[in-house]
Amino acid sequence: MIGIEKINADFTKLFKEGSALLEKGCSAVMNVCRKEAIEQFVKLGGIPHKQENYIYTDLLPVFEKDYNVVLKYIRQDVDINEVFRCAVTDLITDPILTVNGWWFDRNICSELPEEVVICSLKEASLKYPDLFYTHYNQYASKANQDSLIALNTAFAQDGVFIYIPDDVVLERPLQIINLLRANGDLMAFQRNLIVLGKNAKATVLVCDHTLSEQSFLMNNTTEVYLGENAYMDYYQVQNQHMGAAQINSLFVSEQRSSVFDSNIISLYGGFIRNNMYVSLNGEGGECNLYGMYILDKKQQVDNYSCIDHIAPHCTSREHFKGVLDDMGVANFCGCVRVRPDAQKTEAYQTNNNLLLSDAARINTKPQLIIDADDVKCSHGATIGQIDEEAMFYLRSRGIGLDEARMMMTFGFAHDIIQHVKLEPLRKKIDSLVEKRLRGEISKCNNCMLQCNK
């Protein structure tokens, strides 16, 4: 308990002492939210401890490391393009880099339609006060009981801002590459805001990587606003080292007839917490949340989601699958809420887990809260081992034990990967997952440093 109290006190102290730096270069909207958020953080009792939504998650080992927190942008001493190379080579994207949560100062986003804005969040907060006033922290504040999200609002200074106006369709996917690289253990915050106007369309691929062997704790929050009939195809591939912890929160506000498709693949990382909040505010909205997590050693992956059906005639599908080996621990908690007015809702939620060892653990809690009477909803969770009969079937065709197990596991995971619509990306994820399952990714393989961590 002493550990947590000290950590909480450190945060409030840091906030007080660093407030000048924290506020520097950010707009009033951001800074007002910042002050409210730290108050909320204190009010909630600081880092979640024995709270319902973090009941199986011990955050102390994640937070107790002696991290540095850097409240201003520090230029990297190397060319990021030299130390990082994207593995998805067949996919032509518009890359956007962040380093330790900050917009990378040599990002070039030149070939995009003129009216599209992609820039540093900080810069955007000053340039586009109206957009910030309308959207900033409007969706993340839904999770007002989660102190880690309040912590992000309190400390985040920068990140990626994307604005795609009405009727603009992006041809190429945007690829946000979040890199962590430091000389000492680092805690960092990142905040992103993505706004799609009416009928706008975009594909966003987020890749999380570590480029140095230090311990990291990244608290990253993304807010997404989808205007009427907008469409967003969202992918996130989390590939960090064992010493990295990630709290990744995604808030999506969907208006009438908009569609949000997402696929979050937790490939590697010491600790990953994904929070996903989707609210379906207008009729005809659709949301598809897919995810996969692969764990071994002592990794932990939490997936926490809240899908809020506010308007009628909306559909949501949620399917998360996990493969757990060694002493891996995963938690799944999904809540689908159907509000009284949300008649004709269709909501489906599934979580399936494959345990490959006796010591691996999964806690799963699929939930439905239904306050309307004319809806179609289902939820369920399974936990199982590899089917022995199927193993025998494969072996009886000459496939060896290891290869058979690999095929079964991969087959299990492929169910999720098949939802990836971009073919080069699907193939890449397929091969990354296969490599991962074969134990060939025990480090971030894209990193030139090959730090073996």
Partner: protein, 251 residues
Amino acid sequence: MLKITNLHASVDGKEILKGINLEIKAGEVHAIMGPNGAGKSTLSSVLAGREKFQVSQGEIEFNGKNLLELSAEDRAREGIFMSFQYPVEIPGVSTVNFLKTAINEIRKYHGQSSYPPGDFLKMIRQKMELVGIDNKLLNRSLNEGFSGGEKKKNEIFQMAVLEPMLAILDETDSGLDIDALRVVANGVNKLKRPENATIVITHYQRLLDYIVPDVVHVLYDGRIVKTAGKELVAELEEKGYDWIKEEVNRA
């Protein structure tokens, strides 16, 4: 090719096979018939290497090797193929990928390099034509959502691709309508070579109208109690198994 001597096998402590003797030579088709619970499926499972069956006594020699010492996958690599009575559905693993893996694992065992990818697809297409299965099956998950007939056809297709020395068809006719039965049987007949052998395990005469056996065995209570030529099939179909049971019980 295959020589089974005094084979005893049990499952969960219960003895099912009580001294099987059987010899099969290259080029032969043997039918094993018998009433329910006689041990027919146990025999095929023991041959294929299913681990839940324990062999307590006896020997199985396959092309000069001690089969009982080999794992299920090594038996397959040595040329044994069992067509499953209930083929397993494997979601997420496409039929074509499965076959490619299987064939390359077998080749690796024999010290051969992987099947050249271009030739592989050509070969696959030929075998599909031979067995008469739909192209679309290839990229679908293995057996997932297949009808009973499709599953059995897929077994024969796998057999065509893997070209085993000894094929064991375990109740391949169960759950098949007459058209599917004919397709499956034709496939088996087309794959017959002087150097390979087939064991057909079945309850009924039906399948044996199409796949004509050289030798027919009747398995009852864990033993082969009668061995004769193909004329035995008709006799069994007419008279059932009771007369054989009586013969055995009298002796």
